[in-house]
Symmetry: C2
C-alpha cells in the first residue's frame, strides 16, 4: 500500500490511491470506503452506533477492494470521508449527496443545509475526489493504457426491515457489456445469488461515478455490490476477493476481446 | 473581466474565468480561445503564419464569447494554450488531442509524441482545464444554480480547398434539446445560413466537452460553430454577439420551460 497523496490538504479531502504502479488494466474505485467524519462536521448529530452502520459507509467494501487489487494487480482509489458528509457517488444536487435521512435514520447535521454549506462540502470532499479520480483515469488513457473502471460497494442484508436475498449485485449504466460478462461468470461459477442491477439500478442514481468517469471516455465499467454480511471479517473479505478475482479477470478479458471499451 | 486564476502555476496551465459572479444560467466555454504555445514546446516546428491560422485556435471565438457573456450576464471560461499543444475538446487518446496533422498542415512538433510526453501535456494542459471547468460547473450545481453549458467555436471558410456555405452550425451530443431550439430560432430570425450538426457532428469526436461536463449532470448543452470570416474583426464579433445573444436567451428559456436540463 502506498498512499500517494496526503489525506487532507488545505481543508480538501483528497482520495487515497493504493498500488498506483500496478500493471493491470483495472482501476478499482471505492467511494464509500470510510466512515470518518472530519472534525469540522462534528458527529452530524449521530450516535456512535449509527456512525458505524452501513448508512455511514459500505462495511467490508474497502477490505474486499484491497483483496481484489492484490489479486488483479489493480490500482485502487478510495474516498477518505463518510458518505454522510458527502456521498462521492452522487452529484451535488442529488438528495443522497448530503442525505437528511438514510434508510430509517435521520441525520440531524444534514437536516437543513444551506447553499453555502452544500458548496463547501462539494469543494472539500466531492471535487477533490472526482478530480483526483479523473487525473488517474485520464493519465492512464494518455499513456495508452485505457483502464477498466470497477466500483466496489456493499449493501445491508436488511433494508427497511426486509431481508434481501441477493448476495452479489452487478450494476451497469449506459454500457452493460462488462456487467453482463461478470454476471454470466458468477452464475456459471455458482455459489452466490448473483443478479444484474440488484439491489439497485442506474434508475436509483447510484451510477454517478460510472457516468462521470467511464462513459465519457468509452471505458468498460461496472459497479459491484456485495451483501455486507458476506464480507464482515478480514477473512471473509479475503475469501470473497479470492472467489471474485478470477470472475472479474475473465470478464475483463472477454470485454477486451470483443472490442468494447478497449 | 476578472481572471480569477493565474494562467500558469507549477507548469500547469489553468483555465481563465471571466465574469465569474454573473447572475445568468449560461456558462460559455471556449476551448480554442488562444493560439499561445508555452515556451517548453517551442514553436512545434510551425511558421508564424501557421501559428496564427485556424489550425492553432478558433479565430474570433473568444471575442464572440466575451460579447455573448456581457449580453447574457454569463460566466465565460477559456483555455490559455493552443489546441496544437493539447486540444482541450479532445480526450487524451483521440488523434486530434495532439495532432500530427491539421487540415493540410503538418505539425512537426507533434510527429512523434512519446507516451510520457502525451502524459505530460495531459497533466499540464488538459487536466487543469477539465478539472477547472468541473469545479465551476459542480459549484454552480451545489449552489442550486444548474447551469446551461454552451461551447463557442469558429471554423475556417475553406477546408481542404473547398468553400463552406454554412455560416452558423449548432451541434449536439446526447441531448439535442438546446441545439434544436437555437437552430429553430436562428432559422426563424433569418440572415444566417444556420444548420444543425454542421460543419461537424458528434460523430467527428468534437463534443468531448459536452460529454464530459454536461451529459453526466443532465445539463442542457450545445456547441456553437461560427464561420470565422463573419467574426474577423472586433466590430464583427460584437455584431454577431448582438445577433446571437437574444436567440440563445430565448432557446435557454424554452428548454428550461419544457423541463429539459432544468
Amino acid at each position: 500500500m502506498t498512499a500517494t497523496q496526503t489525506p487532507e490538504a488545505a481543508g480538501r479531502h483528497l482520495p487515497v490511491i493504493e498500488n498506483e504502479a500496478a500493471a493491470g488494466r483495472v482501476i478499482l474505485v471505492c467511494e464509500h470506503a470510510s466512515n470518518a467524519i472530519p472534525a469540522r462536521w462534528g458527529n452530524l448529530g449521530l450516535r456512535a452506533e449509527e456512525r458505524a452502520a452501513h448508512i455511514a459507509w459500505d462495511p467490508g467494501a474497502l477490505g474486499l477492494a484491497r483483496g481484489l487489487a492484490a489479486r488483479l494487480d489493480a490500482t485502487l482509489i478510495h474516498a477518505p470521508v463518510s458518505r454522510l458528509v458527502y456521498d462521492c457517488n452522487r452529484a451535488p444536487d442529488m438528495a443522497g449527496a448530503m442525505p437528511a435521512r438514510s434508510e430509517v435514520h435521520e441525520v440531524p447535521g444534514n437536516a437543513a443545509i444551506s447553499a453555502e454549506e452544500r458548496l463547501a462540502r462539494t469543494q472539500a470532499v466531492y471535487l477533490p475526489w472526482a478530480n483526483g479520480l479523473h487525473n488517474l483515469i485520464a493519465g492512464r488513457i494518455a499513456m495508452g493504457r485505457r483502464p477498466v473502471v470497477i466500483t466496489v460497494h456493499s449493501f445491508t442484508p436488511v433494508y427497511f426491515g426486509k431481508p434481501r436475498a441477493v448476495e452479489f449485485g452487478i450494476i451497469h449504466d449506459a454500457d452493460p457489456a462488462l456487467a453482463l460478462a461478470i454476471h454470466a461468470g458468477a452464475v456459471a461459477a455458482g455459489g452466490l445469488d448473483a443478479r444484474i442491477n440488484a439491489p439497485y439500478s442506474a434508475a436509483d442514481d447510484v451510477t454517478h461515478t460510472l457516468r462521470l468517469h467511464a462513459t465519457p471516455y468509452g471505458l468498460a465499467n461496472a459497479m459491484l455490490e456485495l451483501r455486507n454480511d458476506l464480507i464482515a471479517t478480514p477473512e471473509a473479505e479475503a475469501a470473497m476477493a479470492e472467489r471474485l478475482a478470477p470472475l472479474l479477470a475473465r470478464a475483463v478479458a472477454q470485454v477486451a476481446a470483443i472490442g468494447a471499451g478497449g
